[in-house]
């Protein structure tokens, strides 16, 4: 399968208003051929609006969309030829799995023999050879999901859009389908835009992650960049830096000296770092140690295999999410510390 015949999809100030509500504020993004992009953000951040605008299901109120040199934002969804996997799968309930998958090819008026061949290939690709003649209502949620993916990719679209496709599945199936989506993408290499609110999904699937917040792009980067160096404290919080401590800082070369309350620590600067700052630390990096700077009392603790995780409270009632290799009990006094490279310092 190879019709990914475009070099770049370019969003140029793509915007969408709903009455007075500015749901999308001028999105600029270039998607390269074969790239897997995750649109990541909390609910209400505009990521589904962005996807629907791309699909053509929602007209833009500002900006434009370009496929190489062709402007496509004025075209209807049926003329864009993108594939889409809906959150609720949107399988046609009155058609068999085969007819569902073959629908797009039938609309293109392909010869019957070709349709049959390509539907069988797609069934094989998503490992549903045995379910071809069943109705969508007769197969499980995970299988419906595979049918929805097969139906979207069988027409070899230049771009596949996925709208939180795993959110209706249970945890185990979600992990399986995640690997499945990655496998199919590696096999076919069609550019994919994947909307999700789950940073694990975005980190494990995407080549690049676009973080959306309040309808605007906050950061674009590789999973490593987003995990290791989020650009803003709120993104850091969203990416799992649960400890966001107000502090005062003085920079010292590449390092930053921090005062959290009256405890002295060191951190790494992200942006300007003098005066009032936030120090962001992941729970797994804030570890109980003998010479830790932060003194706190354990409030809750739970064993998660291997290590203990919990919440501890400092004297000024600041809550700290921490990890401990030793058993800790509620009420224990702990000293917590973190590697300077794992403490990110943001201007407040």
């Amino acid at each position: 399968m190879s019709s990914q015949d475009f070099r770049a999809l370019r969003l140029d100030g793509m915007g969408r208003d709903f009455g007075l509500l500015n749901a999308l504020k001028g999105i600029d993004l270039t998607v390269r051929r074969g790239e897997f992009i995750a649109l990541l953000g909390p609910s209400g951040c505009g990521k589904s609006t962005a996807l629907n605008c791309l699909a053509g299901l929602l007209p833009l109120t500002a900006g434009s969309i370009w496929l190489d040199d062709k402007r496509i934002d004025r075209l209807g969804p049926e003329q864009r030829g993108f594939g889409m996997v809906f959150q609720n799968y949107a399988l046609f309930p009155h058609m068999s799995v085969r007819s569902n998958i073959g629908f797009g090819l039938r609309m293109q008026r392909r010869p019957k023999a070709e349709i049959t061949r390509r539907v069988e290939e797609a069934l094989k690709l998503v490992r549903l050879e045995a379910q071809g003649d069943k109705l969508p209502g007769q197969i499980s949620g995970g299988q419906q999901q595979r049918v929805a993916i097969a139906r979207a990719i069988v027409v070899e679209p230049p771009l596949v859009l996925m709208d939180e496709p795993l959110s209706n599945l249970d945890a185990k199936l979600r992990l399986e389908m995640r690997a499945e989506i990655r496998r199919i993408h590696n096999l076919l290499g069609c550019a994919t835009i994947y909307v999700t609110h789950d940073q694990d999904e975005a980190l494990s699937l995407a080549d690049r992650i676009v973080v959306l917040r309040d309808g605007a792009v906050r950061q674009i980067g590789t999973p490593e960049e987003l995990y290791g160096r989020p650009a803003h404290p709120d993104i850091a919080e969203f990416m799992g830096y649960r400890n966001l401590l107000p502090a005062t800082a003085t920079s010292d070369g590449n390092m930053v000296r921090l005062m959290v309350g009256d405890a002295a620590m060191s951190g790494t600067a992200v942006g300007a770092s003098d005066g009032r700052v936030f120090a962001a630390i992941r729970p797994e990096d804030l570890v109980a140690m003998d010479d830790g700077a932060l003194c706190a009392t354990v409030q809750t603790a739970e064993y998660r295999g291997r290590d203990f995780y919990g919440v501890a409270v400092m004297a000024d009632r600041t809550e700290l999410f921490f990890r401990s290799e030793r058993r800790v009990a509620v009420g224990d006094a702990l000293r917590l510390g973190a590697e300077p490279s794992r403490v990110l310092v943001y201007p407040a």
Binding site: L57, F92, P93, N168
Partner: protein, 295 residues
């Protein structure tokens, strides 16, 4: 093991859905028996005990007298086109209305003709659609006709009145079926390259047919029992001598209740036959939920 045999009767009954709550059905069952089953059986027996002749005399009389048996075709000639028109028109209207914001206002306006009843609608039509009514005058004024247009006391009058009173009912039923179809199915069709005509033919229509068949049955039964408008707006001795008028005349002009019961039975049989045919056709279509998968 013989454990299964020792489950108490009460538990076994409740596993089949029979328990104390089932008793709550009793009033409804009594109601149906008293007001539907008993009168129906009474009428059925009555229809086989004619004033004169053998037990089938009423039916023989009905099917040998063209003045009587033609009422079936006259009623069908009214009810079938009216119902078809109502159903066919209500589908595109419902498809459009589903996207509207002020749906509730529109449905309220549409419910009014239903609540007013056929007699009031007939009264209104007598006034403004009569030869001296404003509609006829406007038509003459515009020059579409040079003589008063007769729209009542004939087939047209009954037809129009059935459309006016029947359409809202048909439309509301259709609207509920149309809105029951997940909009993402149409979007999915569009994403796969289906233009609106194909989306309608391949996705909406197959999912609508079962609901439309039910809508047709209910609207048809309503139109088939037409009586007040056929009497008030039609030609009760001619074109619109429908089967219910024949039954009325037998009962209250000839005082032959046995004959009237026979006509009522024939009327019921024709309705049931048509509904059965429609539901038979309907069963060939997909009838599951019209959703796109997990909600």
């Amino acid at each position: 093991m013989s454990g299964a045999e020792h489950i108490p009767l009460r538990l076994r009954l409740s596993q089949r859905g029979l328990d104390g709550v089932t008793l709550l059905l009793l009033p409804a069952i009594l109601f149906i028996i008293a007001l539907f089953v008993y009168p129906f059986l009474y009428g059925l027996v009555l229809s086989f005990t004619p004033k004169v002749g053998g037990w089938l005399a009423n039916y023989q009389k009905f099917f040998s007298d063209p003045y009587l048996y033609q009422t079936i075709s006259k009623t069908l000639w009214l009810a079938v086109p009216v119902t078809l028109l109502n159903v066919v028109v209500s589908v595109p209207v419902a498809l459009r209305v589903r996207l509207m914001r002020r749906q509730r206002l529109l449905t309220t306006i549409l419910v009014i003709p239903i609540t007013l009843g056929t007699v009031l609608v007939a009264e209104g039509m007598l006034n403004y659609m009569g030869p001296r009514g404003w509609l006829s005058r406007v038509i003459m004024l515009v020059g579409l006709s040079d003589h008063p247009v007769r729209m009542i006391h004939n087939y047209t009058g009954v037809f129009l009145s059935l459309v006016i009173t029947g359409f809202p009912f048909t439309f509301l039923l259709t609207l509920s079926y149309v809105t029951g179809i997940d909009p993402s199915l149409e979007q999915a069709g569009a994403m796969l390259g289906a233009r609106s005509a194909s989306r309608f033919r391949e996705i909406l229509m197959p999912l609508l047919v079962p609901g439309l068949a039910i809508t047709f049955c209910l609207s048809f039964v309503q139109a088939f029992a037409v009586f007040p408008s056929a009497l008030l707006l039609g030609a009760p001795a001619g074109d619109t001598r429908v089967i219910s008028i024949a039954a009325y005349q037998a009962a209250f002009e000839d005082y032959d209740y046995s004959m009237a019961s026979a006509i009522a039975m024939i009327m019921a049989f024709v309705q049931v036959a048509i509904v059965a045919v429609l539901l038979g056709v309907q069963s060939a279509f997909y009838k599951g939920p019209a959703g796109g998968g997990k909600g």
